[in-house]
């Protein structure tokens, strides 16, 4: 059996995590940093209980041993091999994949693969219909039985304001746009693909955010990966948060700038990096940096934490850096007007140099935008990779964004936007409070609609997903490599479309499964939250 570095890599990773800050420090922030925050900023990341950590390592160790065993059996043809094979004619080519690259995929991911990529056949709203699939060979292949699991409560889709719907004003407007414009565009923005719909959308987005101008792109991921290289280049410095999304990391890498990483949401770490960068300049030559760009996200989707925006802006002003704020999850979901994390903290949108976000989550469409000063948007119109080489946004999608944005702003003549924003924040508070009371460990800010609930042990990842599906609730579970190896979690996304009954059903099921799988690890009392008027008593 060839040496399998990835198996031992898992063990070493686990040992490193043993000493990681999450494990050793208790992290319960209630910050009122000198009046920068208008209301208390409460985030909790309860430490991993020692026994749980030990059992988790043991679990991974056993799985790794079994992985080696199974690979050995597969190599010696004792066990049937389901893995796809190279062509006969190309057997003497350099192998496309190294065996050890896929150790984790073959031996751990495959066992619980049925928790991901579940196909759905309805609107991804508060309730959805799942396509039933079975596997006869332990998840190597799936078959659709032809049946549909109806009315599964959807706790996994990013549908914060409930705009994923096929009826109503937005859908009607999108249908009209499809009838008029068709589905595609067939050209780039700079050539023949700039439709009047795009101009209308950009004006509206700029008004919504409170900035001078904005520009819309066809894909949220590509917005980051194609515009960060246009803004920075060689001789610039990018300071990126530890837990930034893959698109931000890719954009930073493609730009060619130097990248330095600061600890997640840690302002001391960021300040230290800023000071060192300005004082010492570029490495070796000590020339001053051309510009410094700070990359942060509004809500971090794996942790549920909200960026400490007032402090970041204070630092940015003090050290003359530029701020790039990626509001993929927070636009529409935070703030009294749904205008994102800037609105939530009551800050001035002009303080953020580049406001980026996506339309996929709260607006029920697809695509991304960048907003800021007019010079910035003019520059992007001429120099963005997307404007020159990539097809522009599809017209019905643009129309859906226009309709939903007007609804949120209250310009469609109804109160629907305000009601939904209110419902979302009520749902978030209620859900988080109940989970705390039940004794689960949940991470993140108390106002964030993304609720990660810790599972830790690898077996519980698969068990939780399956047990919840049996009770007709669709949840998302995440493990390594999206999270640190012992911090696997289930992640709930609260939506304004969830009614109180749905949340109660979900909570009962979660509690049941939690008792069954022994997930109630928390040893803290519910931290005392400020009394809020809208929390009506329910029992």
């Amino acid at each position: 059996v060839k040496p399998e570095p990835e198996g031992t890599y898992i063990i070493i990773c686990s040992c490193v995590n043993f000493f990681s800050p999450h494990f050793l420090l208790q992290n319960n922030h209630v910050a009122r940093n000198g009046g920068m925050y208008k209301k208390p900023f409460v985030e909790y990341f309860e430490e991993t209980p020692l026994l749980v950590a030990v059992l988790t390592y043991m679990g991974y160790g056993i799985l790794t041993i079994f992985g080696y065993l199974r690979d050995f059996l597969r190599d010696w043809k004792i066990e049937k091999c389901h893995v796809a094979r190279e062509r006969e004619e190309q057997k003497d080519f350099v192998p496309l994949y190294q065996d050890f690259e896929n150790f984790y995929t073959r031996n751990l991911y495959m066992r619980i693969r049925d928790n991901w990529n579940r196909p759905i056949c309805s609107v991804p709203g508060a309730k959805m219909d799942l396509v039933e699939r079975v596997t006869h060979d332990y998840n190597w292949t799936f078959e659709h039985t032809g049946k549909v699991i109806k009315d599964v409560i959807n706790m996994g889709s990013y549908n914060y304001l409930g705009f994923a719907e096929n009826t109503g004003a937005c859908a009607a407007a999108a249908a009209e746009a499809t009838q008029r414009y068709g589905a595609g565009v067939n050209s780039t923005r700079r050539e023949m693909g700039n439709l009047d719909k795009h101009e209308e959308l950009e004006v509206l987005v700029a008004r919504f955010l409170g900035v001078e101008a904005s520009m819309a792109f066809g894909m949220g991921f590509a917005t980051n990966s194609m515009n960060i290289p246009a803004l920075t280049g060689k001789g610039c410095l990018i300071l990126s948060d530890e837990l930034n999304h893959a698109s931000l990391v890719l954009g930073a890498r493609l730009s060619g700038s130097a990248i330095r990483v600061f600890k997640h949401n840690n302002m001391q770490s960021l300040e230290k990096l800023l000071r060192d960068a300005i004082v010492h300049g570029q490495p070796r030559t000590h020339r001053p940096w051309k510009k410094i760009l700070i990359l942060v996200e509004g809500i971090y989707s794996m942790e549920g934490s909200i960026v400490r925006l007032p402090e970041v802006i204070a630092l940015k002003k003090k050290y003359k850096a530029y701020l790039y704020l990626d509001e993929a999850h927070s636009i529409g979901a935070l703030g009294p007007g749904g205008k994102g994390v800037v609105d939530y903290f009551g800050l001035d949108p002009r303080d953020v140099d580049i406001m980026m976000g996506t339309f996929t989550k709260s607006f029920g469409a697809a695509g991304g935008y960048i907003g800021g000063k007019k010079e910035l948007v003019d520059y992007l119109r001429t120099h963005s990779h997307s404007a020159v080489y990539a097809t522009s946004m599809s017209p019905p999608v643009a129309q859906q964004i226009i309709a939903s944005m007007k609804c949120i702003m209250g310009e469609d003549g109804t109160n629907l936007g305000r009601e939904r924003l209110q419902q979302l924040s009520e749902n978030t508070t209620y859900f988080r409070r109940r989970l705390h009371e039940m004794g689960f460990i949940i991470y993140g800010n108390e106002d964030s609609p993304v609720v990660p609930m810790m599972l830790y042990m690898p077996a519980k990842i698969g068990a939780f997903g399956r047990e919840m599906l049996k009770r007709n609730i669709g949840t998302v579970v995440v493990g390594f490599p999206a999270t640190p190896i012992i911090e696997s979690r289930a992640r709930f996304c609260i939506s304004a479309a969830h009614t109180r009954e749905m949340l109660d059903t979900a909570l009962t099921a979660i509690s049941e499964v939690g008792d069954l799988l022994q997930l109630k690890y928390s040893r803290q009392k519910t931290p005392s939250l400020e009394e809020d008027a809208y929390l009506e008593s329910q029992d």
Binding site: P124, S157, E191, M192, G193, K291, T360, Y389
Partner: protein
């Protein structure tokens, strides 16, 4: 009990363990744990030891002035104002308020305003809404996506297909999924921008060969072979790829696929083929350049195409054998970390595929029209037609290219003026747009002329005359 110089026997060691005092064992244990911790703790890069005082540091921070975030863009920058299309970019397109005949959108098969496609998209909208609200892994996989993937695989006669939600991201995510640091990629100089970005993201060694020059490619491959013999161990784990386009978007000609396949087996290199312009155009049934040259599709490791040209939808796909394609489901960045394609656009693509399968005559008709346009545009004073006669997206370049990039760039405004004149006379053509500073091998300035199946002979004549007059007037 230390027996110096003698060999320790296991039993004696265990005995020593039992007899040692407790504090000794505890101390040893702590020391071992400490060593382990030191070994695994983060190494801190030693910042250059500076003897700067705090006051000096504050002064440096005060003095430092960054560049402005973006350089000023002059008000009359040629690309600042976009042409605004009111209404759908269909055959009769309204540009800047004027109705023109569309020679600029890549709507080769005229499927953009096809009623059947619109009806299917609407039906899908009524069932699923617009957005998918999640990536493929988290309830963003719809049965429509699975159906589209199956249909594409069946159409192209491969084992499996995978779809992406954005055409640009397709090849830009596919290449880095397979080619990593230390691997070698041989790529044509005329490769499009998305391929270049994919290569940049992959961090592999890139070797460019002259456009469509198989001898140059063979020379590079031979050089690599010589290198390999110097270090056979490294050569055994270095993957090699050739990345070419079926029909190049920058030069409108085809790659010599049969020769490439020969080179593939001779030098053991894998081929990635980008077919955005040739999918739905070349080949008897529109299957692309493999059908055009009658090459076995299994000989190509990966075919990638976007659905934004002939298929008139949004997104892209990769197809090939399951062994190759399945890897992208966990390693394709644009697939795993991005929301999936809106179902109505996938439904529109399925209907477009239906039309393509039911009616293979459209490809022949399209190629006839291409030949017609190619012929009509010959003989324009000052401009030459670049591209194969059957290519649907042609370029009109300066007849006498001076060979230097600067002089050619000075002719850019004149190209723009030609386009404006044509727009005035109700023919919509556009200048081919590039990012001057970002392209590795910047193509010469040119005017893009696109052939679609909806253009009539009369319109083609009119367009040719219009361009001729404009060229005469401006390029004199």
């Amino acid at each position: 009990k230390m027996a110096s110089g003698q060999q320790w026997v296991l039993v004696e060691m265990v005995q020593a363990f039992y007899e040692a005092p407790a504090y000794h064992l505890i101390l040893e244990g702590i020391l071992i744990l400490w060593i382990v911790r030191l070994l695994f703790s983060k190494t801190y890069k030693l910042q250059e030891r500076s003897d700067l005082t705090d006051k000096e540091k504050e002064e440096l921070i005060e003095e430092w002035q960054p560049e402005p975030l973006v350089p000023q863009v002059s008000k009359d920058h040629p690309s600042l104002k976009y042409d605004v299309v009111s209404g759908p970019p269909s055959h009769k397109i309204i540009v800047n308020g004027k109705e023109c005949i569309n020679f600029a959108s890549f709507n080769f098969l005229g499927l953009l305003d096809n009623e059947r496609v619109k009806v299917c998209a609407l039906a899908s909208l009524q069932k699923y809404g617009v957005g998918t609200c999640g990536p493929r892994g988290f309830y963003g996989t719809f049965d429509v996506h699975l159906e589209l993937e199956e249909r594409l695989a069946k159409f192209m006669r491969t084992e499996e297909a995978i779809i992406y939600s954005y055409g640009f991201a397709t090849i830009a995510s596919a290449i880095p999924a397979y080619s990593k640091r230390g691997d070698i990629v041989f790529v044509d100089e005329a490769a499009c921008f998305s391929i270049q970005k994919g290569l940049q993201a992959s961090r592999s060694v890139i070797k460019y060969f002259k456009h469509n020059d198989m001898e140059d490619l063979e020379r590079l491959l031979k050089e690599q072979e010589v290198e390999d013999q110097k270090n056979p161990r490294k050569a055994r784990v270095t993957r090699r790829f050739i990345v070419v386009e079926g029909l190049y978007i920058n030069t409108a000609d085809v790659c010599p696929l049969p020769e490439l396949v020969n080179l593939k087996y001779k030098y053991k290199v894998r081929i990635f083929l980008e077919e955005s312009m040739s999918f739905g155009v070349l080949g008897e049934h529109g299957r692309g350049v493999t059908e055009h040259f009658d090459v076995n599709i299994d000989d190509i490791d990966l075919i990638s195409a976007n659905m934004e040209n002939a298929v008139a939808s949004i997104g892209g796909f990769c197809c090939g054998r399951s062994f190759v394609i399945d890897h992208q489901r966990l390693s394709g960045q644009g697939y795993c970390f991005s929301a999936s394609l809106p179902p109505m656009l996938a439904a529109a693509a399925i209907e477009a595929l239906n039309i393509m399968e039911n009616d293979p005559d459209i490809f022949t008709i399209l190629r006839e029209k291409c030949r017609h346009v190619h012929k009509s545009l010959q003989g324009i004073p000052g401009l030459k037609v670049v591209g194969e006669p059957f290519a649907p997206a042609l370029h009109l370049q300066l007849e006498r290219s001076s060979g230097s990039r600067e002089t050619d760039m000075k002719m850019l405004p004149q190209h723009l003026l030609v386009c404006f004149q044509c727009l005035d006379r109700q023919i919509a053509v556009t200048q081919a747009r590039y990012l001057d500073k970002e392209e590795k091998f910047l193509p010469s300035p040119s005017i893009r002329v696109v052939v679609t199946i909806e253009q009539t002979e009369v319109e083609i004549e009119k367009a040719a005359n219009c361009i001729r007059e404009a060229a005469l007037a401006i390029l004199k």
